[in-house]
Amino acid sequence: MVIVMDETATEEQISGVIDKLVRLGFDIHRSTGVRHTVLGAVGDREIDWRDIELLEGVKEVLRITAPYKLASRGFRPEGTQITIKDVTIGGREVVVMAGPCTVESRDQVMNIAEIVARNGAKVLRGGAFKPRTSPYSFQGLGEEGLKYLRQAADRNDLLVVSEVMEPSQIPLFIRYVDILQIGARNMQNFNLLREVGRINKPVLLKRGPAATIEETLLAAEYIMSGGNHEVIICERGIRTFEPYLRNTFDIAAIPVFKKLSHLPVVADPSHATGRRDKVPPVAQAAVAAGADALLIEVHHDPENALCDGAQSLLPDQFEQLMHRMRLIAMAVDREVAPGVEAVVK
């Protein structure tokens, strides 16, 4: 922490600030300048910096260290790789997670799982418990939906990611899914974050639509402080003044997260844009910007989807996007898995 004193600060006021910081356990580096005296406070103490800002004679307090520790890049400079079965997230491969917004039926999820697996996706996404904006919208199939996801994933050699909405659902999710998703609206549900921090399954944490990068990393810190260090950060668009699309995809957040944190970053172009014609360009940009994974909604019959059909890619659009992402990944020293003839067991 660096404290810049006012030009008019008296020696007594400067002494007062040093005295307070010394009592708090900091070592002080004082530098008396021509106009301003600058105090460097060195130490690993957690304090509310506003208490210093309010002291007489203080012009400005600059924080140097991030308020999150376990999530910071310095904690693991080489970066975190999360390996589940034969899939590694945070490595050279840009892992594609794809599937329907919501599990609607066994047939639907079987059908889509086969399409995404054939095109090189490694993880099947799908909601079983849906946090809908309206209480009258379809709320999901619940445990039945998780079962269908698991069956479809196993048949196609995929992993499963699905959103958990409350702590009581965690045991159920542990039984069926490989990655637990914390939705954007629950990003600061600290009780839920603490609970998923106690399990030993990876967590995909979505950035809240109005959350800053720092708040997102602090939410990751909540999970990690419980002992679960396998957290994947998801950029899914934020609220801005621009109403044209559902959200504004914060493309620069990808390199920023990668710089500030060692955690893998996944991009969700489907929720960010809310429109299928805008999903491919944003997905391609995310690969170019350094995303470690993508979360993409695909539906074989979006016209009749029960949820977010407008943002789901059609199978042939997904196939084309995967092809383009492979080319872009090569340009940035990454790779996207090739499509396969048939994986159905």
């Binding site: 020696e11 002494s15 040093i18 005295d19 010394v22 009592r23 356990g25 070592d27 002080i28 580096h29 004082r30 530098s31 008396t32």
Partner: protein, 105 residues
Amino acid sequence: MKIEDWRDEIDRLDEQLVQLLNARSQCAIELGRIKRELGLAIYSPDREREVIAHVTGINPGPLDRTAVRRLFERIIDESRRIERVTVEKESKGDNNGKRKKKAKT
């Protein structure tokens, strides 16, 4: 004198500086011990002002007054630190029940 000679001279003076700074730190350590026993605060702004006034007062140059002041601010920063570390280390010893025997005279 050649460049090497001046550099040798600087090295010799640095050696003296290191000796002197350590001797000064030893005083700070002893001072820290006394402060701890008497329950006094490590930071004494009045004394720090006296130190700065003293050294800038006797400064013959060519370093100007503010340069001497800045250099001694750093020296004082480190003295304060070593006093703190001494106090903390010895207080921790007390808490662990390893109270240091006081010299009996």
